[in-house]
Every structure is written in structure tokens, then in C-alpha cells.
């Protein structure tokens, strides 16, 4: 149940429920300041941060964040948890606060600022020389791109799957999951990603089959999240994205 709530709240951060991008960014910062219960929760949060910044966080950041024990410890919500992870070298409460502030200053703020710039720049095609569109930072879909938004949702679902109740139990499940991950990366993962994941000798397969959460988090941060981040960056730069696909004549949307 706790995991379900966690997933729901993580997803909510980038679905239309939150009214403004700025509010979403504020929410992201406050969640970091409050601290996370687990490393996995931190990983999910970092993906949402990538989504809110439309792929403008550095690709290397996920691994720096998740694969550095001390940084992870600094982001956890209790000192006991920090000590379990780092023993005597665990960050003190004040060091933890300082580290989180550093992440906000060095990673989130520049990325979020770039995201706002991207959105503002892309809104120019529906402004004119005298009167711009207001509230360009208040959008329902991420970067005003519903398809980009859908890509984020696809990624989030793929991220949750190995950690869900049914998990990835068979090789067929693994193929299915790896394809979903690759699809959500829009070509930013190596073409052999699925075969690597499903190779019984691979570290991916071992971690998936044995539900080695920590190892999975680590590999996701190393390989998958950077690719997804690039995919979001590319998608948000594509101003040609359409609001919807070809519409057949239907009977919906009657205004009478």
C-alpha cells in the first residue's frame, strides 16, 4: 500500500493535477528538502525532476545521485537511515541539509530555468509582435506537448514495473519490460538493450529475476534514466509535435 501511495504521488507530480510548472518545480524542491524514505524513492523523484525540467538535468546526474552512498544518505529522511548506509561517515543533519541545497542550486535550478526558457521560446509561434501569450509557464501538459507528457507517463510506468507486485518473473516479462523501457527512450538506448536485459548471464537479468532493488536502482540510474532524459530533451525541442493525431470524422465533441 505504501508503495502504491508512493507511486501515485510520484506520478501525480507530472500529471495534469498540478496546475503550474512553477508549482511542480516548487513541489520537487520541497520534497527533496523533506527527504526520502528509500533510495528507490529518490530514484523515482529524480525521474520526475527530469520530466519537470523537460530533460534539462545533466544525463550524468542520475548516476552521481544514486550511486554515491553519501549523497543518497544525505537525501534520506532520518539520521538512523543515513547511519545504516554510511556508518560513521554518515552526513550529519546539517551536512544533509547543505547537500540537498547544493543539489537544488547546482542541478535543479539551472535545469528548471532552462525548461522555462524552452517553453517560452516555443510559445513564440503563437504570439505576435505586439501581444504575447501570458502564463506560458502555466501549462497543463509538460512543455505544452501532450505527446511529451505521454512519453513521461510511459517512462514512469516502465520504471515502476520491476518493483510492482507482479514484477518481472519470466524471460517473457523481461522482454516485455525492456521493450517498454526502450520505447520510452525513443531510440536513446543502445539497440541491443533488450537482448542485454534478457541474457540470463547478464547483470540486468540477475537483478530483475532476484528482485535486487538496489542493483536495479543503480543500473537504471546508470543506463536508463540518462537515455530517458535525452529522449525528453529531444522531444521537447521538437516544436513540430502535434497536439493529436489524425482525426477521423466522428460524432464526439458536439457543441449543441
Amino acid at each position: 500500500m505504501a508503495r502504491e501511495d508512493d507511486a501515485r504521488s510520484a506520478e501525480k507530480a507530472h500529471v495534469p493535477a498540478l496546475p503550474t510548472l512553477r508549482a511542480q518545480q516548487r513541489d520537487m524542491r520541497s520534497r527533496l528538502r523533506a527527504g526520502f524514505r528509500t533510495r528507490h524513492e529518490l530514484l523515482v523523484w529524480s525521474h520526475v525532476a527530469a520530466a519537470i525540467s523537460v530533460g534539462r538535468v545533466p544525463d550524468s546526474w542520475f548516476s552521481d545521485l544514486i550511486n554515491d552512498q553519501w549523497t543518497v544518505a544525505a537525501c534520506l529522511d532520518s539520521h538512523a537511515k543515513r547511519e545504516r548506509l554510511c556508518g560513521d561517515t554518515a552526513p550529519s543533519p546539517s551536512e544533509a541539509r547543505t547537500e540537498r541545497t547544493r543539489i537544488i542550486q547546482d542541478v535543479l535550478s539551472p535545469a528548471f530555468q532552462k525548461a522555462v526558457d524552452v517553453i517560452r521560446a516555443q510559445s513564440n509561434d503563437f504570439t505576435d509582435e505586439q501581444d504575447g501569450v501570458r502564463h506560458v509557464d502555466r501549462q497543463r501538459f509538460i512543455a505544452m506537448r501532450p505527446r511529451l507528457h505521454q512519453r513521461v507517463v510511459d517512462q514512469h510506468q516502465a520504471l515502476r514495473e520491476p518493483f510492482g507486485e507482479s514484477g518481472v518473473q519470466s524471460q517473457a516479462d523481461a522482454v516485455e519490460w525492456a521493450d517498454e523501457v526502450a520505447y520510452a527512450a525513443s531510440g536513446h538506448l543502445p539497440r541491443d538493450f533488450t537482448s542485454r536485459v534478457c541474457n540470463p548471464m547478464s547483470q540486468w537479468w540477475t537483478a530483475l529475476a532476484n528482485e535486487q532493488t538496489t542493483v536495479l536502482d543503480s543500473m537504471l540510474a546508470e543506463d536508463v534514466l540518462p537515455a530517458w532524459n535525452s529522449a525528453l530533451r529531444t522531444a521537447s525541442s521538437n516544436a513540430e509535435e502535434l497536439a493529436s493525431g489524425t482525426v477521423e470524422s466522428s460524432s464526439g465533441g458536439n457543441l449543441s
Binding site: 495534469p16 493535477a17 496546475p19 503550474t20 509561434d125 503563437f126 505576435d128 505586439q130 501581444d131 501569450v133 501570458r134 502564463h135 506560458v136 502555466r138 501549462q139 497543463r140 505544452m144 501532450p146 513540430e240 509535435e241 502535434l242 497536439a243 493529436s244 493525431g245 489524425t246 482525426v247 477521423e248 470524422s249 466522428s250 460524432s251 464526439g252 465533441g253 458536439n254 457543441l255 449543441s256
Partner: protein, 451 residues
């Protein structure tokens, strides 16, 4: 039915028998905010769903592409809802504080929908403050008039705004709304009103009848006279009501208004009487009569000059290419300069709450000076929707494939930059679709012109 159509007296009786029951009890007439509005009255008579209920329905309607609710009109709110729901800075406060007191039920319902966290559209999704616009295009017989009638009812219902239909002597497509129409005619100009038979495609001459003279007051809600532009916009036009305005052939106030407007060339007008005088007075230079339709240019500019009254207004211009001619020259009463003047004033129209709705069969017959300022396009079935780099209006069409040409009647595409949505509309109730045409003509103007 044919008997009725062929008998002018029956037709007259039908037309004058139509009524907008309870229109005299509306909030606009009684000046009582507890009452229903003229727009709500119109929507009910047209058997349309109240707009807040329509939003609920769209929330539950499957999107034509995704296959799941909500409908694309809700998923892509900038495509259509932004052009329908007009808000002001004051409304921004209302939404922030969720205080909707004094609003009519329909507008209140829409605002409650926008602030409800469980609905898909947030008030911040509707970016436009002030007026909007729409270039509605489609071939003859594909429902331009019926679709715009549906939109007019919605604009009146949701925004409580005045709608002004450009009256012309030949066209009375507004006739289904006659029981709600306030017909505004210039003071001191005589008009004859004739009811003409419907055009009969059968080729039988006998089935037609000669136009008969009728009393306009029997047919429409009210007939008002205006002295000049100030009088029309400050005293005669009624907030929340539907108006059919006939331009003043004497152009009273037209030149002065453009002299007062900033960033607007001084427009010149010559009435038929002035031209006639000049022709007969050797001391005066001969002048060419300005077409009466040019009055509209100054009427539009008046909205940006008027300091006495600021009223949300939607202007509906049927056959817009007759007024905003593509490749207009200055030979014809300075048409090019006048179109240029309106183009320069365009952004302020929106800011001053004036929405601009143009209807045409072929968008490219409308001057680019005007089209380039517009932000919403409405493509009706039976014609190709624009794609890619097509320059129809000032925003690039977001569609990359052709969709609308083989859609059935009563369907269309509403689009703006980056977003589009399909939509549909029902035919108006049969009893309001009176066959025949009203011709509202000034014999005096014709007589002087003929001289």
C-alpha cells in the same frame, strides 16, 4: 410545407409568430442578477445543452485519437475552449478567490468547472484574456451559418457578451435568431423591409412570389435607431444581446473616430449625399461615394477609442472577403488604407474585449493584412484543412495531414498554434429555420446613388 413557403402571408405569419419566451424577464432587461441571461434563454430555445453540462459530457466522451476520455476539446483546451470562454482581468480575481457571485448560472458553472481540481481543464490552460477570434471557412452548404449560430449562442451564454452581426441588404442568415435580434438602423435613414421567397431550385417560376413589404418590428425583438458611432456603442448596444447592425450611409462620427485613434491613419468617407452635392456644385471637387460597408472600419476602430463604455463584444462578419478584400486597392474608397488601419488596431481589439469572427468560403480571398493577425481557424467538412506551412491565419496550422474534406456535414476542426480538436453541431430546431429572406434596403440611398 410547400404551401407555407409559397405563400408570403403564411411565411410572414410564421416569422412573426416565433418568439423568445421570457426574454423580457432576463437579467439584462430587468437589470436583476438573479435572473437568467439572454444567452441562456437562447440556448434553451435552440435545444442546446447548457455549457457546464456540455463540459461534463466532453469529460466523458472518448478522444477520437486516443480512444479514451476526455475528448480532444478538453485535452487541448487552447484549440477551442480558449476561443469560446472569454475572460477578463476581473475574472482572474474571481477564479483566484473562487467568488462567482453575480454571474449567470452558465458562466458560474464554467468557472466552477475550471477551479475544480478533479476536472481536466484548469483556468491557467485558458491563456487568452479579453477577446478571441475565428476564421470560419468551408464551402457553401457545409454549415457555416449554422455552426456560427451555435458559437454565437455559446458566446452569449458563457460570456454574457453582446454579439454584433454585420447587416447587409441582401443577406439575412441571422433570421433563426430574429426573436432575440435587436436590429440597429441609423437614425434619419428610411428603410423598406421586404420578405422575399426562398430560392427555388426547381425551375418553376410559379412557385415563387413577389417580395412583400413587412413590418420589421413584427419579426425581430427590437428595432433601435442610432445617431452615430458613439450613440450605437455607448447607448444602443446591449450587453448580452444579439444585434444586427446596419451601417450608417451618412458615416456620422466615422472620420472623427479615426482622427482620435492612435496609430491609425485618418480615414475618409464620402456619403452619397456629399458626392451628389459635389457633382452639382461647380465649386466642389467631384468625390467618389464611399461604399456604405466601409462604415465598419470606423466602427471597429471605435472600440479602441471609446472611453465611455467597455463592453465585451463579438463581431460576426459573414462573407468577410467582401469587406476585407484580398489585393484591395485605394481606388475603391481607400479600401486598402482602411484594411491596413484595422490590421494595426487588431491587437487592441482583443485587449478591449472585441472578438473578431470572419466567415468565408475561401480564406485566401480575405486580405492577408487581417488574416495574419488571427489566431484561431475553423475548418468545416467538405474542404481540405490547412497543413504545415499553409498561410491561412497568423499561426501555423498544427495539422500535418488532410482530414476534413470527407467528414460528414456538421463536423469541423477548430485549431490554433500547436493544438486542434474536432467538433460538431446539430442543426437548429426546424421552427427557427424560416425559409425566405428579409431585404432591408434604404430606397433613399439607392435613389441618390442612381442620380
Amino acid at each position: 410545407m410547400l404551401d407555407v413557403v409559397q405563400d408570403p402571408e403564411y411565411l410572414y405569419e410564421w416569422l412573426s409568430g416565433l418568439e423568445a419566451s421570457n426574454i423580457e424577464k432576463t437579467r439584462e432587461v430587468k437589470n436583476d442578477r438573479r435572473r437568467h441571461s439572454i444567452g441562456e434563454n437562447l440556448v434553451r430555445h435552440m435545444e442546446m445543452t447548457p455549457f457546464p453540462k456540455l463540459l461534463d459530457r466532453l469529460e466523458r466522451t472518448a478522444d477520437p485519437v486516443e480512444g479514451t476520455p476526455p475528448h480532444s476539446a478538453i485535452r487541448h483546451p487552447r484549440a477551442m475552449l480558449d476561443a469560446i470562454i472569454h475572460t477578463s482581468d476581473m475574472d482572474g480575481f474571481r477564479l483566484d478567490f473562487e467568488d462567482f457571485s453575480g454571474l449567470c448560472d452558465a458562466r458560474k458553472g464554467v468557472f466552477e468547472y475550471l477551479v475544480d481540481p478533479d476536472t481536466s481543464v484548469d483556468d491557467s490552460d485558458l491563456e487568452t484574456t479579453g477577446g478571441s477570434d475565428a476564421l470560419i471557412h468551408g464551402p457553401m452548404g457545409r454549415g457555416k451559418t449554422t455552426s456560427v449560430s451555435t458559437f454565437i449562442a455559446r458566446w452569449m451564454e458563457v460570456n454574457g457578451e453582446a454579439v454584433v452581426w454585420r447587416g447587409t441588404p441582401q443577406r439575412t442568415e441571422w433570421l433563426p435568431f430574429a426573436p432575440w435580434a435587436i436590429v440597429c438602423l441609423p437614425e434619419g435613414v428610411e428603410y423598406t423591409v421586404r420578405l422575399a421567397p426562398p430560392e427555388d431550385g426547381s425551375g418553376s417560376v410559379e412557385s415563387d412570389f413577389e417580395p412583400i413589404e413587412v413590418d420589421l418590428e413584427d419579426i425581430v425583438w427590437r428595432v433601435e435607431r442610432y445617431e452615430d458611432l458613439d450613440d450605437l456603442n455607448n447607448n444602443v448596444l446591449m450587453s448580452g444581446a444579439f444585434h444586427v447592425v446596419y451601417p450608417d450611409p451618412k458615416f456620422r462620427g466615422c472620420e472623427r473616430i479615426t482622427q482620435e485613434a492612435s496609430e491609425c491613419p485618418a480615414l475618409e468617407y464620402t456619403s452619397v449625399w456629399e458626392a451628389d452635392r459635389a457633382r452639382h456644385d461647380p465649386e466642389l471637387d467631384e468625390k467618389e461615394t464611399t461604399p456604405t460597408s466601409h462604415w465598419w472600419f470606423s466602427w471597429l476602430v471605435h472600440h479602441n477609442v471609446n472611453e465611455k463604455r467597455s463592453m465585451r463584444t463579438t463581431w460576426v462578419c459573414d462573407e468577410a472577403s467582401n469587406l476585407f478584400k484580398h489585393h484591395a486597392s485605394n481606388d475603391n474608397g481607400g479600401l486598402s488604407t482602411k484594411i491596413d488601419a484595422v490590421s494595426q488596431q487588431y491587437v487592441d481589439f482583443r485587449r478591449n474585449g472585441l472578438s473578431f469572427v470572419l466567415l468565408t468560403q475561401k480564406p485566401r480571398e480575405i486580405s492577408w493584412m487581417i488574416r495574419k493577425k488571427m489566431r484561431w481557424g475553423v475548418t468545416l467538412s467538405g474542404t481540405d484543412n490547412p497543413t504545415g506551412s499553409d498561410e491561412i491565419i497568423g499561426v501555423r496550422p498544427p495539422m500535418n495531414t488532410e482530414m476534413t474534406s470527407d467528414w460528414k456535414l456538421g463536423r469541423g476542426l477548430f485549431w490554433t498554434s500547436g493544438q486542434y480538436t474536432e467538433f460538431g453541431w446539430d442543426d437548429l430546431p426546424r421552427r427557427y429555420k424560416v425559409p425566405g429572406k428579409l431585404r432591408i434596403i434604404s430606397p433613399e440611398v439607392r435613389r441618390v446613388s442612381a442620380k
